[in-house]
């Protein structure tokens, strides 16, 4: 179930990695998803854009993965950009923990 709960779709756009997460992230798959994303970030990437528009659930285990990812990228001088529309079910959660600050554009 955990594999199918969330689908990771990765696309390289020049020096930026665009990772699209579709589905739900909870304790059962968070670590695996984190691993998958990390494995795809090349050393030469300038940063990662996480497109969470397709994410319908994100719990604290998932948040931990995002914080961890941001920490790791920062240590490598790479940027993490979280893209999420304001009407997304996970928008408020991300805002509560400070992963996003301003309302998403559009």
């Amino acid at each position: 179930m955990s594999v199918l709960l969330c689908h990771l779709d990765v696309e390289e756009d020049g020096d930026t990695l665009v990772a699209r997460l579709i589905g739900e992230i909870d304790l059962s798959n968070a670590a695996l998803i984190g691993q998958d994303i990390r494995a795809r970030v090349a050393n030469h990437s300038l940063g990662v854009v996480l497109d969470l528009a397709g994410l319908t659930y994100l719990d604290s285990a998932g948040l931990e993965v995002l914080f961890d990812l941001r920490r790791r990228l920062e240590s490598r001088r790479q940027q993490l950009i979280i893209a999420v529309p304001a009407d997304s079910p996970v928008y408020r959660t991300l805002q509560l923990v400070g992963l996003i600050e301003r309302p998403a554009a559009g």
Partner: protein, 1102 residues
């Protein structure tokens, strides 16, 4: 309830045929992977040969001993974490009873004493797999490792190389900046000079150009001139050039007069400076048979002079001496005495009468009747010298006797006290080149009639070679003299000769006249550019006139620069220098870029290796893995088509996964498996090139992996290696799947596992085999809960019996699940399955019905592929079939599938089934439908879905069915007042818990925002219970929810004791609960923990 089991591989695939049971001990010892078997106390129980080899150990020395006793941390590596990480992983495996994959570890291993002792640096990719006994307890741990030391080394090398490249790129950038700045300075100087000339010497230069142009043209023409005419023209040409020099001298006067000549006095090594300028006459003197005697020993201290002016002084004096000396010698000496420095230039020349000496320093005075090398002379030289010496606050004396020679003495004061302070600088960078010495020397050489210049051997300061192409011997010589102090110079008399020389030994720069016989400069340029050996050599063209058509043509043909004659020597030197430097930079840049590209390729390769050997694949089902693998391989090697074929029991191959262009794979499997190695295939249209790699398991070819391209670019060796790696991975997965399949079949031949628990819905299924002995039929069903609360129901039928249809069924089921979750819409899902079946090449009839049901809205979307329509059982007992438009079977449609929507009466039951239920020999299908509707109508109203399936199957099939039949029934439950759930306390329970809660809340009219908040808070509470309440695998978590006025009140309960919370994340979970809900109360008691949650529901809830 009963159901269908897919079968993929038979046991025959695994066991060696007809040899009985294999010797598993030997198999284990000689397994290709490195295995260590550990007891739960981490004592080594068994070890494979590969492990012994990898760790340089002996079996007797390690079996029976503790793992960490045998493999301690490297004491010399203070950062060693190998034992700690491994211990943690083993503990996890013991505690969770699940395989634990470790990240790549640095774990150095002790080297045997016989090989020098100490530790050897190693990196490993370990996997710890517990082996459970019948009681569920861990009996053993299989510790599998893969030595990835080389991969890591390769990776580190890659990043070092990147650093180096970065550093060097920085250097190049800095150099480029300098060069750019130098070019800017040069351009500014050029500009200043140009301005000056246009202001001051316009009247001189314009007629001079008009004179030199036509004469140059006439001389450049290969024929049409008599020897006498040519001679006369050459004379005119030489004199025009001379005039140019005098213009320059006059300009110096102009500058002096106008006060624009502002000398800068700096301390210089005067002996060295003087030698540099006098030395320019060495070869001229040697050619003229004159002795040149120099006394230019270093002076005790630097002398303050203006370098440029001093140069003019020396050159004028020496060239005068040379001019009027036909035999004997020239002498130049430098001495210091009583606060002065004296330059003495003496010759044994014709001398001049005493009476003339008084007027010799007057401008334009020329001594009459003097026999010299030339009658030329403006009479301006000595006058200028006098002015220049006076600028240095010095004196000049001349002493001469007719027939004996002339002596000139220049005396200037030492030190700088006599000079205006603002014009004195203490130190300045040495000027790299002498501007006018070449012009003077060149002129001196011209005076030696008919003398061939010596090979330019003096003053080669750089090792660059300049190839000069000019048909005019004068110009050739002139250019050689000009360039040879700086570079090695080679000469060619026309374009063809130049091309031959350039090809034989490529020069660093070509300087070519445009107008030449045989092959002109533009043709030469084109020929050089066409040859890969010479195409990067900078080419500078010399033209007689600016704006000539040939010049434009030359620049268009890719000349790097052009110079119009007459050009100044410094300008030529500067341009040649610039282009040599630019070419050097270009070469260096190209080299850096090549190195960078190599490093990038290395990085990409590592990335690709990762992509095909991803450990996450271990978790995927075979068909999902084949799908992922085929996609990745296609992407990595840029294939337009890729396919995986597996050989079945009957020896024929079938496509199991494919992507891109549809492939006709007929015959490929045989060709590839026969070759036993990667082979080029006769690519079917529209492919232009194709390669097949065998899938080998246990030394036996089990299929092949094909890649093809539409464009005719063949696959590189590196691509083929990657495909091979992927093939190894696929082969391994196929073996594993076959093993799993066998195990499953031994334990339970029919049931694929229980149907999922669905909130708000009751589903049941039933499968009736016909009882034949010839294997399983191809009926199947699938229930897929989607994230948004909807449920996908699928039922299908693959014609035929046995392994092949079963394999297709298995593939369809797993792919269908993935498509259902990804695309949602039934039309899209069936369209995708069409493509899959088409590409599988299975000529089988497949029918399918996919229904998407939303239990909250009482309606269904569906798409059918020639399948029998579903039956709807209304709450009032009415039973009828949905009316579907005719549709072709799976794989027979290339376009989009149609999708139909039906509204259901609340409380309806939907029955999906295969035609085996209704089909009878000699009967129309409509009879069958009617029989089914009758049977359904006669059922009691309170029957549940399980009862419905069983009753209908019994009524229609009796005891023995003619064909297999499958039934799938779904009933939407009315909303409940109260929700109560109990689920095992494992992470996998969280998703069903959320679905149940979401459904219950939505059914109760709670708005989306509140549903999200409540679901997340409960999810956090349940996750806490899962993570902290129990040991692994124990216990359960309960959720109770009810409406309390305007509130929703919830309780999440476990019966364990919470262990200490760890880390920020758990705190974050509690924070989220408190932020999202109105009340959060955590009650920790010895018998368990209860989290009470409460939230007021927003008014506008719909």
């Amino acid at each position: 309830m009963s159901s269908v089991t897919p079968r993929m591989q038979s046991e025959k695939d695994l066991a060696p045929p007809s040899r009985g049971v294999p010797d598993f001990h030997t198999l284990f010892l000689s397994a290709p992977d490195a295995y260590l078997v550990l007891a739960p106390d981490l004592t080594i129980v068994a070890v494979s040969d590969a492990y012994l080899r990898a760790t340089m150990t002996e079996r007797d020395a390690i079996v029976g001993r503790g793992l960490f006793e045998v493999f301690p941390d490297n004491p010399d590596d203070p950062e060693a974490t190998g034992t700690a990480n491994l211990a943690a992983s083993l503990e996890r495996a013991l505690a969770t009873r699940r395989p634990d994959t470790m990240a790549v570890q640095k774990y150095d291993i002790p080297r045997p004493e016989s090989e020098g002792g100490g530790f050897e640096e190693r990196y490993w990719s370990p996997l710890n797999t517990p082996v459970l006994g019948p009681d569920g307890e861990v009996e053993l741990i299989i510790h599998r490792v893969e030595d990835v030391t080389e991969l890591i080394a390769l990776k580190q090398k890659g990043s070092e190389q990147e650093d180096e490249i970065y550093r060097r790129a920085q250097e190049i950038q800095a150099m480029n900046e300098e060069l750019r700045a130098a070019n800017v300075r040069l351009a500014e100087l050029d500009q200043a000079k140009t301005d000056f000339f246009s202001n001051v010497s316009h009247e001189f230069r314009t007629p001079l150009t008009l004179l030199l142009g036509p004469i140059g043209d006439l001389l450049a023409a290969p024929d049409g001139l008599t020897a006498g005419q040519r001679e006369a023209l050459e004379l005119a040409h030489r004199n025009a050039l001379r005039l140019l020099r005098h213009v320059n001298t006059l300009l110096d006067f102009t500058r002096l007069e106008s006060g624009r000549l502002a000398p800068t006095y700096e301390p210089v090594d005067l002996a060295a400076l003087t030698r540099e300028h006098v030395g320019a006459f060495e070869s001229a003197c040697a050619d003229a048979g004159l002795e040149l005697e120099l006394h230019l020993l270093p002076l005790p201290e630097p002398v303050y002079v203006d370098r440029e002016l001093w140069e003019k002084i020396v050159l004028n004096l020496v060239s005068n001496a040379f001019k009027f000396t036909l035999e004997g010698r020239l002498e130049a000496s430098l001495s210091a005495a009583d606060g002065h420095v004296e330059l003495l230039v003496r010759d044994t020349g014709v001398g001049m009468p005493r009476v003339e000496l008084e007027r010799v320093f007057e401008r334009f005075h020329q001594v009459r009747g003097r026999r010299g090398r030339t009658q030329e002379g403006s009479g301006i030289g000595l006058a200028l010298v006098k002015e220049l010496v006076e600028l240095h606050r010095g004196e000049i004396e001349i002493d001469s006797a007719v027939g004996k020679g002339t002596t000139v003495r220049v005396r200037i004061p030492s030190g700088s006290a006599h000079l205006p302070a603002e014009a004195v600088v203490r130190e300045r960078d040495g000027r790299p080149e002498s501007i006018s010495s070449q012009a003077h020397r060149e002129e001196a050489l011209r005076w030696i009639d008919g003398t061939e210049p010596s090979a330019a051997t003096d003053g080669i300061r750089e090792r660059h070679t300049v190839l000069v192409a000019d048909d005019n011997a004068d110009i050739r010589r002139y250019l050689e003299r000009l360039l040879s102090p700086h570079w090695r110079v080679r000469l060619a008399a026309d374009g063809r000769a130049a091309l031959e020389r350039a090809r034989a030994e490529p020069p660093d720069l070509v300087l070519s006249d445009v107008m030449m016989p045989e092959m002109d400069g533009v043709e030469l340029l084109k020929a050089l550019r066409d040859d890969p050996v010479t195409c990067t050599i900078p080419v500078v063209l010399l033209t007689a006139r600016a704006g000539e058509t040939a010049t434009v043509e030359g620049l268009e043909a890719g000349a790097d620069d052009y110079l119009a004659k007459p050009f100044s020597a410094p300008e030529l030197i500067a341009r040649v220098r610039t282009h040599l430097e630019l070419a050097r930079q270009r070469t260096a840049l190209a080299r850096e870029q090549a190195a960078r590209a190599a490093a990038e390729r290395l990085a990409a390769r590592l990335q690709n290796l990762r992509a095909v050997s991803d450990v996450a694949f271990d978790r995927l089902e075979l068909d999902a893995l084949l799908g992922v693998m085929v996609e990745r391989v296609a992407r990595i090697v840029e294939a337009d088509a890729a396919a995986i074929e597996l050989v079945g029991d009957d020896g024929s191959a079938a496509v199991r996964a494919a992507t891109g262009v549809e492939l006709d794979t007929a015959g490929f499997a045989d060709a590839v498996t026969a070759a036993g190695r990667p082979v080029q295939l006769d690519a079917p249209r529209p492919l232009a090139t194709a390669v097949g790699v065998p899938l080998v398991a246990e030394g036996r070819a089990i299929g092949d992996l094909l890649v093809g391209r539409v464009h005719p670019q063949p696959f590189a060796d590196e691509d083929v290696q990657l495909v091979q790696m992927a093939a190894e991975r696929v082969a391994l997965a196929v073996e594993q799947a076959a093993l799993r399949d066998t195990r499953r079949r031994i334990s339970d031949p029919i049931h694929p596992g229980p149907l999922p628990e669905l909130p708000g819905m009751q589903v049941a299924a039933c499968w009736r085999p016909s009882g034949g002995r010839d294997g399983t039929g191809g009926d199947f069903y699938e229930v897929v809960p989607l994230a948004d609360g909807r449920v996908g129901l699928a039922i299908g039928d693959v014609a035929g019996r046995g392994e092949r249809p079963a394999a297709l069924v298995s593939q369809l089921r797993s792919v269908l699940r993935a498509y259902a979750m990804e695309f949602g819409s039934p039309g899209e899902v069936v369209t995708r399955l069409d493509r899959l079946v088409r590409s599988s090449g299975e000529p089988r009839l497949v029918t399918l019905l996919y229904v998407l049901i939303d239990p909250r809205r009482w309606h269904v979307h569906l798409a059918s592929a020639a399948h029998v329509p579903p039956l709807v059982l209304a709450p009032d007992g009415h039973a009828s079939h949905l009316e579907l438009a005719p549709s072709p079977p799976l794989g027979m449609v290339a376009g989009e599938r149609e999708e139909t929507t039906f509204e259901l009466a609340p409380g309806s039951t939907l029955l999906l089934y295969t035609d085996g239920l209704v089909q009878r020999r000699g009967e129309s299908l409509d009879d069958g439908f009617e029989r089914l509707e009758r049977a359904a109508r006669s059922l009691p109203a309170e029957v549940d879905t399980g009862g419905l399936c069983d009753a209908v199957a019994a009524a229609l099939l009796g005891d023995v069915a003619e064909d297999d039949a499958a039934l799938l029934a779904a009933h939407v439950l009315p909303p409940e007042e109260r929700l109560a759930l109990e689920l095992p306390a494992v992470p996998e329970s969280l998703a069903p818990l959320r679905r149940a809660l979401t459904h219950w809340l939505e059914a109760g009219g709670v708005g989306a925002g509140d549903v999200g908040a409540i679901t997340l808070a409960c999810g956090e509470a349940a996750a806490n219970a899962v993570e902290h309440a129990y040991g692994p695998g124990d216990g359960s978590v309960e959720l109770a929810a009810e409406r309390d006025g305007e509130d929703i009140a919830l309780a999440v309960r476990d019966r364990g004791s919470w262990r200490a919370q760890r880390g920020e994340d758990r705190g974050r979970g509690l924070m989220l609960m408190e932020a999202l809900l109105d009340e959060v109360d955590v009650k920790v008691r010895p018998e368990g923990t209860t989290v009470l949650l409460r939230k007021r529901i927003a008014e506008e809830a719909a």
